[in-house]
């Protein structure tokens, strides 16, 4: 394992972590949104029973789906390649989200995928924004973009050429802590208390370390992105 492998591992871990976080968020909102959907009074015993029942069902479906999807799309990946598979899953995800949204008129995050979709479709033929995004995020060298080398000659002339994909990945890493801490509503609560510390306090202490980790990863990525360019000592 060299430094870059560790970096990829860390990036993958981050991605996985946020995915899990996504799932956990559901548990937080469930006590409010599920009774609303089922027209039960929030906090009533009936609502609590319904929440724990449906929560169990939905979480189980999620886990099973996760495992099954992992196997199926692994096979699909072997047949048609990573990029196409990723596109396929995203298209499915976006379709499903907009479908759910149209049915229930409930959805904040879903709007995002709705907005993205027409653009995706337009670009699908000639380069594809999703692929770009994916490559940038994970710095996968195997994805070569047709339009990725704009300004390449200008950069070479100036004596440097940063890897644009890696730099964009670094930008994402740096944006994460800023966005997390400026979203004050996500952590301004006393509960859950940990070792006497209100959530509001310990959560921000935790971000000291997460932010240092993100910045460090960005540092490594930028070094990598700019490595090997002419006249630039590492």
């Amino acid at each position: 394992m060299n430094g870059y492998h560790w970096l990829v591992l860390f990036a993958a871990w981050l991605g996985w972590g946020f995915d899990i976080f996504d799932g956990l968020l559901f548990n937080y909102v469930a006590p409010n949104c599920m009774p609303t959907l089922l027209s039960l009074a929030i906090g009533s015993p009936a609502a609590k029973a319904a929440v724990s029942y449906y929560n169990g069902v939905v979480s189980s479906i999620l886990l099973v789906g996760w495992a099954v999807g992992g196997i199926i799309f692994g096979k699909v990946c072997d047949k048609i390649g990573r990029t196409k598979t990723l596109l396929l899953t995203m298209a499915m995800y976006a379709r499903w989200n907009s479908f759910v949204r149209n049915r229930s008129e409930h959805g904040g995050a879903d709007c995002i995928s709705d907005h993205c979709q027409p653009r995706d479709r337009r670009r699908m033929g000639c380069g594809c924004i999703r692929r770009t995004l994916f490559c940038r995020r994970f710095g996968l060298d195997s994805c070569h973009l047709s339009g990725g080398s704009v300004n390449q000659s200008e950069n070479d002339r100036a004596g440097f050429s940063g890897d644009k994909k890696l730099l964009a990945f670094a930008a994402v890493l740096l944006a994460i802590p800023v966005a997390a801490l400026l979203w004050v509503g996500s952590y301004s609560s006393v509960e859950p208390v940990f070792a006497g510390f209100p959530f509001f306090i310990w959560y921000q202490f935790v971000w000291v370390f997460l932010c240092a980790a993100c910045t460090w990863a960005a540092y490594r990525v930028v070094r990598k992105a700019r490595a090997g360019s002419k006249g630039q000592p590492r």
């Binding site: 200008e154 440097f160 202490f205 700019r226």
Partner: protein, 547 residues
């Protein structure tokens, strides 16, 4: 007076102070291979500082004595929004500076820029815009230096020195401390605070770790500390009919908390002293690597902020020697009440030495700015490198003397008001400096007009914040954000207005065909690194070798 002078604490304080003074004088020989007769050497330590020196220097520079006194004091008095925002502020600070400070380092390295106004001058070819940036920097730095003295004063007052008895008794220790500081800064330049920063940071870490392990247990554990803080913050203030402070921000405080954190983070590296410390590093990556390790200080700052709440649980009564309650004294008082005298002395030394490092760097930065962007630009354009260094040294003395007079003659509240204004003002240089690092789309006069707009809005908005109890103006840094209708940090609103005006003015000026200045920089300058052959420093070294 209560208790008189604490001689044991005072002895430790004076002893440590002496050690630091000797180190400061010896610093001029540290890592030096040529004379100190240029601003590169005196004012930037020859741009030779590596990762660790930069870490200590920036840490010593950014986390000032005033921070260490004021943040817990704000936690003690009004709670999380005014105090704990310092934690997210100093966390998101690092990803933010990671992005643009390396570019500023590179372009400054190649062109020999010493201040941000130097860069603005080169990038936009505008003496006037550079002057605006320089003056803003000096104006914002002066009260900051004065507040370092307030930090020392707070410590001395708790030790028992400097009551109302005589002006001289109050002034003498400060004059001695600042006289020594001025003397070794004059001799050693930026190397002096760089060396002292090691002692300062070591003391601060020891004191805070001991305090945070020992004190909460002593007052009944963290649960009790937070319960006491919550109880105090929820008490209704009879003067306003509102709670005294904020324990955990509620929905109406979100904007305030977030904009304070973001605005302060954007502003901090616009201050001349932060830029000086950054430019003194050896390579482009030093500052980036430092962005990953500097959060260690943020952690300590967070712990320190919590000590303000520990003081609530401990029932600390911060009362000044004049008999009036003064929240600024809460941390020294807490230490004095809870620690044995000798360790209280160590903690006071940490605060006092903590004041010297930033005060030295700030005065060097302010005098660099004056020399480069006012003296050389407007008074004596033919000044040589040694002229520049000489003027800078004299100005650094003047700056310290002014700060001293400021604190001794004016009410402390003025220094605090000006510092608040300084934070708002300094952020108004952001468009000229940081936007300029990426694009030259903005017109130089557009940026100037934007700067004027931001300065005016910020000053007026800050003036209109009135303390409901005392009726004083400049009572805080929050006011209603136009359009959004939420309370937010004035500096950030002013920056938005500033940017908007600059953009609109740019379009108008371009349509009117008003001439843009020349740009000294090229694209590759922004990515240059250590050892670059086109660096001004490189040329000077080559020239020196030929002599």
């Amino acid at each position: 007076m209560k208790g008189g002078i604490d001689y044991a604490a005072l002895g430790v304080l004076v002893g440590l102070f002496t050690v630091v003074t000797v180190m400061g004088f010896l610093a001029s020989n540290w890592r030096r291979d040529k004379s100190l007769h240029s601003l590169e050497e005196w004012g930037l330590g020859g741009r030779t500082f590596g990762t660790w020196v930069t870490w200590f220097l920036l840490g010593g520079d950014l986390y000032t004595a005033y921070t260490f006194v004021a943040v817990p004091a704000a936690m003690f008095a009004t709670g999380a929004v005014a105090g704990f925002f310092a934690v997210p502020y100093t966390i998101i600070l690092y990803p933010i500076i990671f992005v643009y400070m390396a570019r500023l380092w590179s372009v400054s390295y190649r062109h020999g820029y010493v201040t941000s106004a130097d860069f603005v001058r080169g990038r936009y070819g505008s003496k006037v815009l550079a002057l605006a940036v320089a003056i803003t920097g000096i104006l914002a730095t002066m009260p900051y230096i004065a507040l370092q003295l307030v930090g020392i004063q707070a410590v001395l007052e708790v030790v028992g020195i400097g009551g109302v008895s005589s002006v001289l008794a109050r002034a003498l220790p400060l004059i001695i401390a600042f006289g020594l500081l001025a003397a070794y800064t004059l001799q050693a330049g930026l190397r002096a605070p760089a060396i002292i920063a090691f002692v300062k940071d070591a003391l601060i870490y020891v004191v805070i770790i001991v305090a945070i392990l020992y004190l909460p247990a002593k007052v009944g554990g963290w649960t009790h500390v937070f319960a006491a803080a919550q109880a105090k913050m929820n008490t209704i203030n009879p003067a306003t009919g509102k709670p005294v402070g904020v324990f955990v921000p509620s929905a109406k405080d979100y904007w305030a908390y977030a904009t304070l954190a973001l605005g302060s983070a954007l502003a901090l590296f616009m201050y001349p002293h932060s830029i000086t410390a950054t430019l003194s590093s050896r390579s482009r990556n030093t500052i980036r690597y430092n962005a990953t390790i500097l959060p260690a200080y943020s952690f300590v700052l967070g712990l320190l902020a919590l000590l303000g709440w520990v003081a609530i649980a401990a029932g600390t009564k911060p009362v000044g020697l004049d008999g009036h309650p003064n929240a600024q004294l809460v941390i020294p008082q807490l230490f004095k009440d809870s620690f044995p005298s000798w360790f209280a002395g160590v903690s006071f030394a940490a605060v006092a030495i903590g004041a010297l490092v930033p005060a030295a760097i700030m005065s060097i930065a302010a005098s660099n700015t004056f020399t480069r962007n006012i003296y050389k630009e407007w008074v004596n354009p033919r000044a040589s490198h040694s002229d520049e260094a000489r003027v800078s040294k004299i100005v650094s003395l003047a700056v310290m003397a002014l700060a001293l007079i400021f604190v001794l003659t004016l009410d402390k509240q003025n220094a605090i008001n000006f510092q608040l204004l300084g934070g708002i003002w300094i952020l108004q240089t952001f468009p000229a400096v940081v936007y300029g690092l990426y694009t030259r789309w903005f017109h130089r006069w557009g940026l100037l007009v934007g700067w004027i707009g931001g300065m005016l809005y910020g000053t007026i908005a800050a003036y209109n914040v009135v303390n409901p109890t005392t009726g004083n103006h400049f009572a805080g840094s929050l006011s209603v954000i136009p359009v959004l209708g939420q309370l937010g940090y004035i500096a950030l609103t002013a920056l938005a207005i500033n940017s908007l005006i600059a953009a609109v003015a740019t379009v108008i000026l371009d349509l009117a065909g008003v001439k843009r200045g020349s740009d000294d920089t090229v694209k590759a300058d922004y990515l240059a690194d250590e050892g670059d052959v086109r660096a001004v420093k490189g040329l000077e070294t080559i020239a020196a070798n030929h002599e």
